[in-house]
Amino acid sequence: MTLHARITWILLCTIVPLGVIAALGLYLFVSVTLAAKLDGELFTRSEALTAAIEIKSGNVVFDFDEGNLSQYQISNSKNIQQSAYFEIWQFDNGKPAILLERSPSLGADELFATNLPPPWDGFRDGELSDDVDIRLFSSRVNLETKEQNQDAQSRGLHPSETPGQNHPTVLLIVAVPRMSVDGPLDTLIMGMICAGLVFAIVSGIAVRWSLEKGLAPVHMLSDSVAAIDASNLTTRLDAPNLPIEIAPIQGRINDLLGRIESSLQREKRFSIAVAHELRTPVAELRALLEVAASRPRSVEESHQTMMTALKSIVRLDRLVSALLRLTRIEGGREYATATEIPIGEFVREAIAQVQPMAIVRGIRFNIKSNDDEKIVADPDLIVMALSNLISNAAEYADENSIVEIEITQRDSFIVMRMDNAASSLADVDIERLGESLWRIDSARTYSSHLGMGISLARSALEASDAGFTIHLDKSGVVQFRVEIQFTHAC
């Protein structure tokens, strides 16, 4: 799913429910307001009708004036909203049983007084036979009380202070069409649907436009990234006026490009180095043998040629074996075992192997170690790592200098530190020191080394889960330091 679609989906999932909730809220508010208004109207009508009911000579009579009654005349089908209805029922045995009066506007319809469930007081909804929805208000009117009220009112007394007679209770039902409520509500629903559609369209356009504008920097960044391929990895992204949220992404991409570029440069250097390392001995052999075969040679000359060719082949063999081993280790095909190794002893053995070269160059190894210290690692890999590192020190440390090796326990690790003076090294050399086939002398032919010592050591130590760092201390005599962190055998 695209970012555009994802954000659109999120916005729609947020906006649409909010719109629906707002519409429902508005509908409920209008509905309640209109219903309250209608109920108020019904109550007013009920009050007016109640005022028109009188007891005369023990009988219930209705004193409707023309103004009141005109509202309850024949139903106005053209303007049903102006119609109103009422029925007055007299109670018998506690139920409204005798219809005393009804509005002419009802025609054949009834307000269903006999079917009204108790309690009879309150508001209800109903329907007339011509599908006119109505709102009813029914209330019981105790005519005695009413008379008492009127009497007390005329005499300035409280109703309880006037003696009454035993007068009947009537049920007054007033109804009006719900049109005044339903009509505006229907209009409101239609309005809200139309407004909702318009809102949806406008929202869709607004969301799209906003996303286009908002995501423009992302698209710009994306286009810039897409324009970068293997041929122009030196290019860096420099999109102007990026929002602060996206600017770090550009920075990260530039960092990544830098790492990819340096990685490819490293691969390129490695390829060139491999080409040189492999092609040179092959070229040596070919030229040597072609020249030798170009004319008859003496036995001594042929022997000399063979010995020279053998040296080249031995060097080639060492190189190919080292490259294959490095490939196996880095590819995880050379599995590491884990056994307890007396690290100090291993270091001393590695030093012993390079002693002849060290003596010639005046290099002295000074080792500080507790020979009881043991690490958990693969012995073959550790031997390979140590012999390469110590051999490198013997060949490349400054002549007549001391190589300091210290093995100490630090927390749960055994740390081996090797320092040697290396005045020919610079910071840039340290960056490339771990690269396969790199040597400080680009010509490569003066050294017996293949230029794979550090890279083989690094790979062997990584395969043994040992931490490996190298750095240059330039505070005084340039000191090359290798620090290895082994797992301590507890």
Binding site: R279, V282, A287, T308, A443, T445, Y446
Partner: protein
């Protein structure tokens, strides 16, 4: 023809020196860029075989320094770097040819011979001077299509004179181009070689093509041309 080899691989360098000397070239060889630069500036080489990755100063720097100092020797880059960019880099820095390691020694010889001809603006592999023909590719000399046997040094001498035909070459110049550094050269070595060469050419029926110009040295020239000069 005198050739300088700048190659850090001892085995390859020695093989090239041996092969090229056996092919009749005077060959000097050094193992690093610094000494290569010094040799190329202090002696006159027809062809320099130059490795790229050298100790001290790399081959490209040596090459561009030589070109900046107007050293006109033909340069053959001999390197393991085989990418197009590397070749373009080498050629655009002034190399005349580029050969990737490993290579066939025959190819190297052919390229060196072609570069040597180019130094003397000679495009053909056969130089004809009257009845005399010098076949550069096979390193043979014929008079009226009959081969005459020459020692490598004698061949080198006549080839050099033929490439500079009509132009006199001094003894010092001939020594410079025919003998490698450190060779023990007697003071009359060139004169002796010229004498031997003339004798062999005379015997083959091609007398008087090598002339002595007092104070200018030796010149290889057709007899007709010599008459023309005299007429003038």
């Amino acid at each position: 023809m005198r050739i300088l080899i700048v190659e850090d691989s001892i085995v390859l360098r020695d093989a090239l020196v041996q092969g090229l000397r056996e092919a009749g070239y005077a060959v000097d060889a050094v193992g690093d860029g610094k000494r290569g630069l010094i040799h190329a500036q202090t002696s006159e080489y027809d062809v320099i075989i130059l490795d790229w990755m050298l100790p001290d100063i790399d081959g490209i720097t040596v090459l561009s320094t030589l070109r900046a100092k107007q050293i006109q020797s033909s340069v053959l880059m001999l390197t393991a770097r085989d990418s197009t960019d590397d070749k373009v880099n080498g050629l655009s820095n002034g190399a005349d040819d580029y050969l990737v390691k490993p290579f066939a020694f025959k190819e190297l010889l052919a390229r060196v011979a072609a570069l040597a001809r180019r130094v003397h603006s000679e495009h053909s592999t056969i130089i004809r001077i009257g009845p005399l023909s010098i076949h550069i590719s096979t390193k043979t000399v014929r008079v009226s299509e009959q081969a005459i046997e020459l020692a490598p040094r004698e061949y080198a001498l006549i080839e050099y004179l033929a490439l500079r035909r009509g132009k006199p070459s001094t003894r010092a110049e001939l020594e410079e181009h025919l003998y490698a550094d450190g060779s023990h050269v007697f003071s009359n070595a060139i004169d002796a070689a010229i004498y031997t060469l003339r004798r062999k050419l005379d015997a083959a029926g091609c007398p008087s093509v090598i002339q002595t110009r007092r104070k200018f040295g030796y010149v290889l020239q057709a007899i007709d041309a010599q008459r023309g000069e005299r007429t003038e």
